[in-house]
């Protein structure tokens, strides 16, 4: 990560300049330099900022789109989307009905954009596919050992995990979630679901009555300067009776839908964390398959929410999955979650595991922390939200896969009865299915999220982490979350950064190339790649893969913002954390992005 101090100062000055410019002009020209106005260059050429009907290069280009009809279209081939698809097909075959279910996924292969720890609670899986073991689900590592500790710079203080505490993992499995999602994809295909990896849904389509009609995939063959190339082709429209949006944390279409249907009117804004992960092949002598380790404390201070995980996987070779999560409500602009992660690996207790090992993968992804308080309205005419997109992660357990899967199943069940009801009189062209929300509120997801709702907000006190742990001990462990009050979050993550002058710069150690690494080599490991010649999103803050950087101007005086969009790992943190909220993450051409293998 580039030294945050140098760039954040300039970032704030540039933000000021940008805001001023935006206020003056109707069509915002994104200004990248603050001192030399002569070498102004456009940061983005995306059609959402520069509409095509006013652009002379697009005159005469055929803009008609091919359209196709399905019963249900699912955006996102992750745990939620695939569980919904599988459930729909199971119900269809049970009731002997024909149902066309299409899943569009921006990754080139199902599972290639999936990233998680992960420790899976098999409850939802057992409900969906009871014979998952016989079918070869890659749940190869049952949890055998569970450790939790508070780290200081040199020492490790173990904390007993009593049964009943949220971080108790008995009965769970350590998985490579990418492989699990790939397996779910195979199950879905066997049932007849149409999977289309490599095609990103870039636009929501609406009927005339305002209900959701379906989605359109992205256009391909657009040059970096926004003009059409020879191989330009329009995306395709997929129309459906109901569209399920399972884009994962902070989905870009969901962002649009929140505004369109005012789905967040009655809930708190979503809060997030960033999760960074690496896979290591370690020395066999240090490998204990099934061991689950979590830690809090060093290197974060008590007021910055975050912690680590280290899972020993049993997948044939001595593999560990380890990572670091930092709440995106951190206040110090000098903080670099990537460098905290690299620093954490040098702790004596972690280094002893990693020494002599080899890093084989890296990735990053934002995750939800809002929990119960941030659940939006889930259903609107023509569509429903499932999975981490609305956000059902159980934060103290750090598990969201089982709730995502269950939400997909609930959505499928409510949609199925409505779609196959021959006597249905719908008010809107796209089906409105409030039964989903009712079923959701009666389900175990609701109960689970309600019981842990106050744990994360309890960290917002003077004692930070320690106050939160005391709160968890009293109110969750003893009272099971039955306290009558609901604590609030602190507001948008983007508003939490304090001015740099009020914060202390953090001195990060240089990466040693054996245990800790720099950002560029980490990005190479994620296998990320995109078509060079395409427009990218307007942006202005940090990224976990060297996307945004300030480079000196060629004239030598001042800096300019350079966006290396090719390095993007689709973590969405820029869209979340940017203080001026002027970043709007949009999908690139489908099949670009990271190429995670079982992350």
């Amino acid at each position: 990560m580039f030294p945050a101090c140098r760039y954040s100062l300039q970032a704030r000055r540039c933000v000021g300049a940008l805001k001023a410019v935006q206020a003056e002009h109707v069509a915002p020209q994104v200004c990248s330099t603050r001192s030399s106005s002569s070498t102004l260059s456009r940061i983005t050429t995306h059609y959402s900022v520069y509409p095509r009907d006013k652009d002379p290069r697009w005159e005469g280009v055929e803009m008609e789109r091919f359209a196709d009809e399905a019963d249900v279209v699912i955006v996102g081939g992750g745990p939620a989307g695939l569980s919904a698809a599988i459930r729909l097909k199971q119900l269809a075959s049970q009731h002997e009905k024909e149902l066309r279910v299409c899943v569009v996924e921006k990754a080139s292969q199902i599972g290639a954009h999936t990233l998680s720890g992960a420790c899976l609670e098999p409850t939802a899986l057992s409900e969906l596919i009871p014979d998952w073991k016989e079918r070869g689900a890659p749940l190869n590592t049952p949890v055998t050992e569970d450790k939790f500790s508070i780290l200081t710079e040199k020492y490790r203080i173990p904390v007993p995990i009593l049964p009943g505490l949220p971080m108790n993992n008995h009965g769970n499995y350590l998985v490579r979630l990418g492989h699990f999602v790939r397996w779910l994809g195979e199950q879905a295909e066997e049932l007849g679901v149409e999977l289309y990896p490599g095609y990103a849904a870039s636009e929501v389509l609406f009927h005339e009555d305002g209900s959701v009609k379906g989605i359109a995939t992205n256009d391909v063959g657009i040059a970096k300067d926004g003009s059409p190339k020879d191989v330009f082709e329009r995306g395709m429209e997929l129309h459906a009776k109901v569209t399920l949006f399972g884009e994962g944390c902070h989905g870009h279409l969901a962002k649009q839908l929140y505004k369109q249907f005012n789905l967040r009117g009655n809930c708190e804004p979503q809060t997030y964390a960033i999760g960074l992960k690496e896979l290591w092949v370690i020395d066999e002598k240090k490998w204990c398959p099934g061991r689950t380790e979590h830690s809090v404390g060093w290197p974060l201070n008590r007021n910055t929410y975050g912690g680590s995980f280290l899972y020993h996987l049993n997948e044939g070779e001595p593999l560990v999955a380890l990572g670091f999560v930092v709440g995106l409500d951190y206040t110090n602009p000098y903080l670099s979650p990537f460098r905290e992660f690299q620093r954490w690996k040098h702790h004596p207790s972690i280094m002893s595991t990693l020494e002599g090992g080899n890093r084989i993968a890296y990735g990053a992804r934002a995750l939800n922390e809002g929990g119960f308080q941030s659940i939006p309205k889930l259903t609107f005419p023509g569509g429903m939200l499932i999975g981490c997109s609305p956000g059902f992660m159980n934060v103290p357990k750090i598990k969201g896969t089982h709730t995502a899967m269950k939400s997909g199943m609930l959505a499928a069940e409510s949609a199925f009865s409505k779609i196959t009801d021959e006597n249905l009189q719908s008010e809107t062209a796209g089906l409105y299915i409030p039964e989903y929300e009712e079923a959701f509120k009666k389900s175990w997801i609701w109960k689970e999220l309600y019981s842990v709702r106050n744990i994360r907000p309890s960290f917002h006190n003077y004692f930070g982490l320690y106050g939160g742990m005391v709160y968890t001990g009293i109110f969750y462990w003893i009272l099971r979350g039955k306290e009558p009050w609901t604590l609030k979050h602190n507001g948008l993550d983007a508003d939490q950064l304090k001015p740099a002058k009020d914060c202390t710069p953090i001195e990060y150690p240089k990466p040693d190339g054996k245990i800790s690494f720099d950002l560029l080599s980490s990005v190479a490991l994620s296998g990320t790649n995109h078509e060079h010649d395409q427009p990218f999103c307007p942006a202005e803050t940090q990224s976990f893969s060297c996307v945004y950087e300030y480079v000196p101007l060629e004239t030598g005086d001042g800096m300019r913002l350079q966006i290396n969009a090719q390095n993007c790992v689709h973590c969405k943190t820029c869209d979340i954390k940017d203080p001026s909220q002027n970043i709007n993450w949009v999908v690139p051409e489908g099949s670009g992005g990271p190429a995670y293998n079982g992350m």
């Binding site: 080139s108 095609y199 080599s521 296998g527 790649n529 099949s591 190429a595």
Partner: protein
């Protein structure tokens, strides 16, 4: 799926670029090819090869050192094969050929690659089933034999292949196929024109460009600048599901796919040693003497 702009830096200096950017040249694992046969009057047979995606720079050697880890690694159509498919489809659109057949040799997964070729415009596909140990040892010689047999069976008039696969860089299949069939070959083609029943091929060679005229039937291998492959758009992928893919076994074609080569060892390239800076020419000479070089 690769796009040609990526292919530019991948193909021409794949190894050097990888060295520059990431400090470790990638291991070139072995992968099987599928030549593209294109048929002028009736069929154009395309070879579509499924290789590890060129943007995946981190390839690991298997613990037993017999090859590289391929499980779960992103695979896509060989970039030169995409160009070959595009050329065949272009010929069909100009009504110079009647039918385009895409062929791939390998396990079940190569059907995806054939479907992509069908989505780009091929008419039908042939999947030559080779799996397990046979697939791991499948090399240019066996594939050329398969292709020669198929060309005779399908009465193809033109075979278009990618010039080489980006995983093993053998650059042999096209040439071997032509030799087995005793057909003329136009390799490293950057331009292909059909003139009556002869083929004019502009070849990229070390000294520049060479133009040759060859009789049909012939074998052509596609080089980078032949064309820019089109995207396989979603509606075409959906339509491609209805196009036919026939399954064939090498034994049905009378081809023995056993390999005469044995891979003894696969190793990662040695770690790059850091260089040493010297201040003067005198120091340089001293250092070279120390190292025993002069």
């Amino acid at each position: 799926m690769h796009r040609s702009s990526e292919v530019k830096h991948l193909a021409s200096d794949f190894n050097t670029r990888a060295c520059e950017c990431f400090g470790q040249p990638p291991v070139q694992p072995f992968e099987s090819h599928c030549p593209v046969l294109t048929d002028r009057t009736v069929r154009v047979q395309l070879k579509v090869l499924k290789v590890k995606d060129g943007s995946v720079f981190f390839i690991r050697v298997k613990p037993d050192r017999t090859g590289v880890v391929t499980d779960g690694v992103k695979h896509s159509m060989n970039p030169f094969c995409e160009i070959a498919v595009e050329e065949a489809v272009k010929l069909k659109e100009k009504k110079l050929v009647k039918e385009v057949v895409a062929v791939s040799c390998g396990p079940q997964q190569v059907q995806e690659t054939i479907r992509t070729a069908l989505a780009m415009g091929a008419d039908r596909g042939i999947h030559v089933e080779v799996s397990g140990k046979d697939y791991e040892t499948l090399g240019p010689l066996q594939v050329s034999k398969i292709f020669a047999a198929l060309a005779k069976k399908e009465q193809a008039d033109l075979i278009i292949l990618g010039k080489q696969a980006i995983d093993d860089d053998c650059n042999q299949t096209g040439q071997m196929t032509a030799a087995l069939l005793d057909w003329p070959q136009g390799t490293f083609a950057s331009e292909v024109t059909l003139e009556a029943d002869k083929l004019k091929v502009v070849r990229e060679i070390d000294g520049g460009l060479e133009t040759i005229k060859i009789n049909l039937p012939a074998v052509v291998t596609a080089d980078l600048r032949l064309n820019t492959p089109r995207y396989a758009t979603l509606p075409n992928i959906m339509k491609a599901k209805k196009k036919k893919i026939t399954n064939v076994k090498p034994a049905d074609l009378g081809v023995d796919v056993s390999s005469r080569l044995e891979v003894l060892k696969v190793d990662e390239p040695p770690q790059r040693q850091s260089g040493v800076k010297v201040e003067t020419v005198h120091d340089l000479v001293e250092k070279l003497k120390e190292a025993g070089r002069i």
